[in-house]
Symmetry: C2
Subunit: 155 residues, 2 copies
C-alpha cells in the first residue's frame, strides 16, 4: 500500500526515443469507478493487479499485488472490460529521474504520454525538452477513461 | 485460478449450531458487475482479494490472492462500495463434506445461508436436515447483491 504521487505530460517531440528500451503492456480493468479502479496488467512475463482510489490533487491510494501471468491472461481475455489497452512503455532517464513514456496502440494510437513518479507532491523537477502540456489532472488521459473514450474518437 | 462449484441453501433450523466455531467476516466490493466481481475480505487476521467471473450453472471462474490485512482494512474503510457485508461464518461437518454457514449481520440480519463447495457440478451430496430451499442460482442471495438490496428491505 502507498500513496502515489505522479505527474503526467504530453510528449511533443521524438528526442526521447534514442536507446530507450520498450516493453509491451496489455492491460484491462475490472472496475473503472474512479473511487476504486482495479487494473490487470501483463508486462512481458510479469503481471500485477493494481487498485487505486480517487485522485486527490496529484496523490492517490495505490495497492499493487503480483499475480501469476497465466491468471492475468485469463482475466484479460475473459473478465476485463473491453477494449483492452495496449501500449509500449519506454523507460527514459532525465536529470536523475526515471520517466515512463507510454506509446499507445490500437484505438489509442497517436497518443504518447510521459509520467514521472515523485516522493512528494511539491518535489521540484527539471522537465525534459520533449514534454509539453501537463495533463496530471485531465481525466481524459486516465487509462481507465481511454477505454470508454479512446483517443481515435477525440476530434 | 480455478473453477468454483458451489451449492447454496437457506438454513431452516438451528441444529447446525452446536459446537460450530465462528469467525467474523468483514467484506466489501470494488466491483459488483456480475461478469467481474472484486471482493475484499477480512476474516480474523487474514485477508484476501477475490475475483469472480459470471456464473454459468453452478460454476464460475474464481481467482483468490492473499493480501496484507492492513491493506484490506484501508480498502474496506475507504474504497469499497457501501454498505459493507458483515457476517459470522461457521464451519460445519456433515457426511464427509464441510459446510459453511453464513449468519448475516447489520442490514442483512435474519438471513442464514449454507454453502458447500464441490469437486464437480454433478457430485452427489447428502443434504443436512437443517437446510431448506436451494438458492444457488437465485441472484438475490449473491453477496454482491446483498449490498444494493439488503435482506432487511425484502418484504
Amino acid at each position: 500500500m502507498g500513496i502515489e504521487v505522479e505527474r503526467k505530460f504530453l510528449v511533443v517531440t521524438e528526442q526521447w526515443r534514442a536507446g530507450a528500451e520498450r516493453t509491451l503492456f496489455r492491460q484491462g480493468y475490472l472496475s473503472t469507478d474512479r473511487e476504486r479502479t482495479v487494473r490487470v496488467r501483463l508486462a512481458g512475463d510479469a503481471a500485477w493487479l493494481t487498485i487505486k482510489g480517487v485522485t486527490e490533487g496529484v496523490s492517490r491510494r495505490e495497492f499493487e499485488y503480483a499475480v501469476p501471468p497465466a491468471d492475468a491472461e485469463i482475466l484479460l481475455d475473459e473478465l476485463c472490460l473491453r477494449p483492452l489497452i495496449e501500449k509500449y512503455r519506454y523507460r527514459v532517464q532525465h536529470a536523475g529521474l526515471t520517466w515512463e513514456v507510454d506509446e499507445f496502440l490500437g484505438d489509442n494510437a497517436g497518443l504518447i504520454i510521459a509520467e514521472v513518479e515523485l516522493d512528494h507532491p511539491d518535489q521540484a523537477i527539471e522537465l525534459p525538452s520533449w514534454v509539453g502540456k501537463e495533463v496530471s489532472d485531465d481525466a481524459r488521459y486516465f487509462n481507465a477513461n481511454l477505454i470508454a473514450h479512446p483517443y481515435c474518437r477525440w476530434r
